[in-house]
Symmetry: C2
Subunit: 313 residues, 2 copies
């Protein structure tokens, strides 16, 4: 089996795990709520509910699979497939939680699958990387330096100057910060994934200082991203945050990966255009699913969480 | 410019003409209605209205372009692009007739364009045909003979046995007949188009008896198709007939063309799957446009017509 296929299988199973984890956790929350104070009202009885922990571990398992997927396949393939977890969770909610999907909801699911298929069919091959040092050299090229410093500068400007004034009224402020920083998270997480993969293959990458720098970038960017995502979810409705975050986060990641790993260098324009079409189809599906579903029917009584389908690696 | 590109340009301009013809005709009907009895109430004053005639000629021009498109590009490319006329007419109605599109309507338009792009990017190349006799030989192969006799048998059974009992309650009866027969119309119209193209190129095909048989098939199948389409539109709502007819007609045509001209023989499975995805995306768009638009806002006061976007060649 080639790396691309392994990455694809990991990405799809990651979406299956993450999508179902929300339903398992919600079932756990309901069970816990039946026994004591519900989580929405500030109770913590779900912490003694095995079902909730089962959901939590399913989610962690899914995140690990997602992390591993980035080591095998390009981000251009893995990130958009995150949308599949949305439909897994919507279909499971329909069957198991009696949160009925409308005909538009089903259409949205269908579009997510169709768009994902188009992306999978035309995604670029993963560039063969043989060391963390190689990624570091790629990152030092002017294109990516410009992108990365642009992201840092723009995010800082948003966080320091714009957020205090407009953060609570303009959804794009918080979501923009976590999408931009998120693209750096994915790049560094992917590099770390490649480092681990190479190490497991017998080529120890953990001795190099670049791996250490990479860990620092992962920690800093993931914490920043989670922090602003929680702020966004705090102020705005999940049903609005989710699709906007999915769009911005996926776009930023595709741009970052395209610059850093030169994903599109050897692609024909017809393939790149097909990927764009596949991505737009997924967006339409995500929009339909969210626009035609009232927020309370999703697992919104679960405290602070990453919106479904756009989990961090 | 190669034949495929000429066919594509003809197919797209055909959709532009047909799509705008509905708006021009409707403007004409409104003008005529302001002067006398409206068409919906049985008046015929629109026949003296130049604007209505302008719309009529735009439509005929579009149909001729559609006919010509079939001579240059495979039906697998030309037929699905008929959906573009739906969005042309929806967008023009939004701008010129003040029939506002909802956000779902815009999403539907967007999906039609995205799906069409995917189909255009992956459509098979037109098989080079050098004579009508060659098409005749292709049609005599067992696969197509089986398909054509199946269509005739099944349509006759539907028309003679099923239609009298279920025709007015089951929409699939009338629409099924005209979709099946419609696939034969397209095949014969395409053959006639190729014959005319070859004749204009100096290789006279009009002397061969096969061209004559072909004209007979065109006349018989187009009359049958129009007859049952009118029956369907008579009994059922245009907003329901249109998308179902588009789906069935396009599917039947793709199957017929795939068997007769062996469109998919030299295609990779990834390309065929991309085309299927593009087609599903268009279907979703057509469904969204129709499901979120009340019928009276379309040009439904216009007497008997082919539904928008699925005009006969």
């Amino acid at each position: 089996m080639d790396d691309q296929t392994i990455g694809l299988i990991l990405a799809i199973s990651s979406s299956l795990f993450i999508g179902s984890s929300f339903i398992i956790k919600k079932k756990g929350l309901k069970k816990a709520g039946a026994r004591g104070v519900s989580a929405g009202s500030g109770g913590h009885s779900y912490l003694t509910e095995p079902m909730w922990w089962a959901g939590m571990f399913t989610m962690i398992f899914g995140e690990v699979a997602n992390f591993a997927a980035y080591a095998f396949a390009p981000a251009v393939l893995v990130t958009p497939l995150g949308a599949l977890s949305i439909i897994v969770s919507a279909i499971l909610a329909h069957r198991m939680l009696n949160e009925k999907l409308s005909v538009f909801g089903w259409l949205g699911c269908c579009l997510c699958i169709v768009g994902s298929t188009v992306i999978v069919l035309h995604a670029p091959e993963e560039r063969p990387i043989t060391s963390v040092h190689e990624v570091w050299e790629l990152a030092k090229q002017p294109g990516f330096m410009l992108y990365a410093s642009g992201v840092v500068f723009f995010s800082l400007a948003l966080a320091v100057y714009v957020a205090p004034i407009h953060g609570n009224t303009q959804i794009l402020v918080f979501v923009g910060i976590c999408s931009l920083v998120g693209s750096l998270s994915v790049m560094s997480v992917k590099t770390l994934g490649i480092a681990l993969k190479l190490t497991f293959d017998g080529d120890n990458q953990l001795l190099y200082p670049e791996t250490g720098y990479c860990v620092l970038v992962v920690v800093a960017s993931v914490i920043t991203q989670m922090n602003y995502l929680n702020k966004a979810l705090d102020v705005f409705n999940t049903a609005i945050v989710s699709p906007i975050y999915y769009v911005l986060f996926t776009c930023a990641t595709i741009v970052a990966s395209g610059i850093l790993f030169k994903d599109f260098q050897n692609q024909k324009w017809a393939e790149v255009l097909s990927e764009v079409c596949g991505f737009i189809t997924i967006l339409a599906g995500v929009f339909l699913l969210h626009a035609t579903k009232d927020d309370c029917s999703s697992s919104s009584n679960f405290p602070k969480r990453t919106p479904r389908g756009m989990e961090l690696p």
